[in-house]
């Protein structure tokens, strides 16, 4: 995971860790809303437009599954920050930069 290209800035955090959780959160939120819409907001007129399928419900469930999978991936394979944790930060320049997943 370490890269010789950024050795001059070794305290740099990888950062992608956040994105998977953000994606999982937003899609998960959409999933919840859609499932609720599908359960309580379904109407015959809408069924006609979708060809007799409760589209909100199915799409919502699929999104929940996807969001769960993403959150699981991000848990099981976290992005490792490059500087090893036991080396006390000689590079700490006091810029107040925050590492992800703190």
């Amino acid at each position: 995971m370490s890269s010789s290209n950024s050795s001059a800035r070794s305290e740099h955090a990888a950062g992608a860790f956040d994105v998977r959780n953000v994606i999982a959160a937003l899609i998960g939120f959409y999933g919840v809303v859609l499932v609720l819409m599908g359960l309580f907001g379904n109407s015959p007129e809408e069924q006609e437009r979708t060809g007799d399928v409760n589209a909100n419900l199915w799409a919502g469930l699929a999104m929940l599954v996807f969001a769960a999978a993403f959150a699981l991936w991000s848990r099981l394979r976290p992005i490792v920050v490059e500087a090893p944790p036991d080396r006390q930060d000689p590079e700490d320049d006091g810029s107040g930069r925050v590492a992800p997943g703190h």
Binding site: S4, A14, V19, V22, A25, V33, V53, N56, A59, V98
Partner: protein
């Protein structure tokens, strides 16, 4: 567009608002990590390949792709797939396998900078200026389409939609620079899929599945639109053999390679990665979803031709002034319930903002590093250029509002602009490729090749039937997309010929200056990742590229 109204309810607005909230949060979070200009412009070269790979295609998945390709699907059918399978994937693979080692290994901060180091000021200025102008114009188009969608769907007046949209994009770019843009692009990709995949599936369900769609299109007498070759409608070239040649060489080679291998908007995302292998993998990883994106973008267009009344009428010839750009919106109106409608709105808005943000972030890198630092104020501190970058972003966004207003005055502006930028990309690619593999090529040949290639393309366009609308003379019997393919090919050939000739009579750069820029002068260590041999097969760029190539060929065969 005035009669297009969608019944958006509170729930739909809630979903859209959630999306915007997340986007702004990402901008704010990315800001805390931006400490110098390399961070702002290139994310400190730290991102993993799957992130940049998705951002790579997301940056391209803007208004033009979603609205334009579905419109093409409604008008031409399956041959639109060529824009993806011929016109994008091979070039993306080539970029990853062949050209990224030079871009990444030479540590240039932009594509024009590569031009400057290889060829000097002349070629650099031509490239940097034309690229910068192009980005502002394209950002304006994205912004305009974004605002017209908002206007048509929500009833807000155009000027208000323009300003609000511009303000949102501006905030998250200014706050977080390229990192924010990239993170948002990854997010946007998933929202766009979440919006378009259900749309496609519901549409297919309504028409009776894939078989039902095939039957209905055939019944309407348009069976040839179900096959992607020889695509004579698309190319405008009557002879099937010439049409295939035109598409494969003109679109597949010159135009698409010219765009994907030199367009800094895309290359910038690959440069933001943490290693050479990751940089090479970025466009290759992007190629996999790119292959399948047309199924959720083009197919809805085709479905619209048998499902949506207005589109059916237009295809039957009853409404000659129908704007095919509306096809996907009409399909959304006719199939999606509230809830999914909100997701679709968020997805469309996401796509348009992704396009605009990509243009703006590429613009401000080229402006700050290639133009301002190079020719206006050299040798200032890094913080100075970071500030310049931020101001450039604001200026570019305001300018995009201006170019959006210009765009609103023309219905065919997008066609013209696509043709024009094809003119710039084809000679650029020729000059690049020649310069990367032939060290004898001189700086003078660099800019002369570019200029003469562009002039050749413009000449062909003038001589064609309609590449410049009524200004074209009609001397050459080619029109439509075929004309732009021929023009691009002409530009490529002329550029190569002129460059070779001029190089014979001018002085090349000293070989020592070409290390890292030319294949023969770059030692193997500098163009390969030292860790490459330890990578598993799914992280090795060349193996991945091989798999992608096989897949795209299979797709072409299945859907021929």
């Amino acid at each position: 567009m005035d009669d297009l109204r969608l019944d958006a309810t509170f729930v739909d607005y809630l979903l859209v608002a959630a999306y915007f909230a997340v986007v702004l949060l990402i901008g704010a979070a990315a800001r805390r990590r931006v400490s110098d200009s390399l961070d702002f412009f290139l994310s400190g070269r730290s991102l993993p390949a799957w992130v940049t790979g998705l951002a790579f295609i997301s940056a391209n998945l803007g208004a033009v792709e979603i609205v334009g390709m579905s419109a093409n699907g409604a008008q031409y059918g399956m041959s639109t797939m060529h824009y993806f399978w011929i016109g994008a994937v091979p070039a993306m693979l080539f970029l990853g396998v062949v050209m990224m080692p030079f871009y990444y290994g030479s540590k240039v901060r932009s594509v024009p900078e590569f031009m400057r180091r290889r060829f000097g000021t002349g070629a650099h200025l031509v490239n940097a200026l034309s690229f910068a102008v192009a980005q502002i114009l394209i950002a304006g188009i994205n912004l305009f389409l974004l605002a017209t969608i908002v206007e048509a769907l929500l009833g807000w007046p155009l000027w208000l939609s323009l300003i609000v949209a511009a303000a949102v994009v501006l905030s998250y770019i200014t706050l977080g620079g390229l990192s924010a843009a990239i993170y948002n692009e990854v997010l946007q990709f998933f929202v766009i899929v979440a919006a378009l995949l259900p749309l496609t599936l519901i549409g297919l369900n309504r028409v009776g599945g894939v078989g039902g769609l095939v039957d209905r299109v055939t019944d309407a007498g348009r069976a040839e639109e179900l096959t992607s070759w020889p695509a004579t409608d698309l190319s405008g070239i009557g002879s099937p053999v010439l049409s295939v040649i035109g598409i494969v060489f003109g679109l597949g080679f010159v135009l698409s390679f010219g765009y994907w291998t030199t367009n800094f908007v895309e290359v910038q995302r690959a440069m933001a990665t943490k290693s050479m292998s990751a940089a090479r993998s970025t466009p290759i990883i992007g190629a996999f979803p790119k292959m399948f994106v047309p199924f959720i973008v083009v197919i809805p267009g085709i479905i619209a031709t048998v499902l949506v009344p207005e589109v059916i009428e237009a295809r039957e010839g009853a409404a000659s002034d129908f704007d095919y750009n509306n096809a996907i919106l009409l399909l959304i109106r006719d199939t999606l319930p509230n809830g999914l409608l909100g997701v679709a709105l968020a997805g469309l808005l996401a796509a348009f903002m992704a396009g605009m943000a990509a243009n703006i972030s590429a613009f401000n890198t080229v402006f700050s590093y290639d133009l301002w630092q190079q020719y206006v104020k050299k040798d200032r501190s890094d913080g100075y250029y970071l500030a310049v970058g931020r101001w450039a972003t604001v200026g570019a966004t305001v300018a995009a509002i201006g170019t959006a207003i210009i765009a609103s005055g023309y219905t065919n502006l997008m066609d013209y602009l696509q043709t024009l930028f094809g003119f710039f990309n084809a000679p650029l690619f020729a000059t690049f490729i020649l310069g990367m593999f032939w060290r004898r090529m001189t700086p003078t040949a660099g800019w002369m090749g570019l200029v003469s290639g562009t002039l050749a393309a413009v000449a062909v366009a003038f001589l064609s039937e309609d590449a410049f609308g009524t200004a074209s003379l009609g001397v050459l019997p080619i029109g439509g997309q075929g004309a732009s393919f021929v023009a691009a090919s002409a530009a490529f050939v002329v550029d190569i010929v002129v460059s070779v000739v001029v190089s014979q009579v001018t002085a090349p750069k000293p070989v020592a200056q070409l290390a890292g820029l030319v294949y023969s002068e770059t030692p193997k260590e500098q163009r390969t990742d030292p860790d490459a041999h330890r990578l598993p097969w799914y992280q090795s760029p060349t193996k991945l590229a091989g798999i992608a190539l096989v897949m795209v060929i299979i797709l072409n065969v299945i859907f021929r």
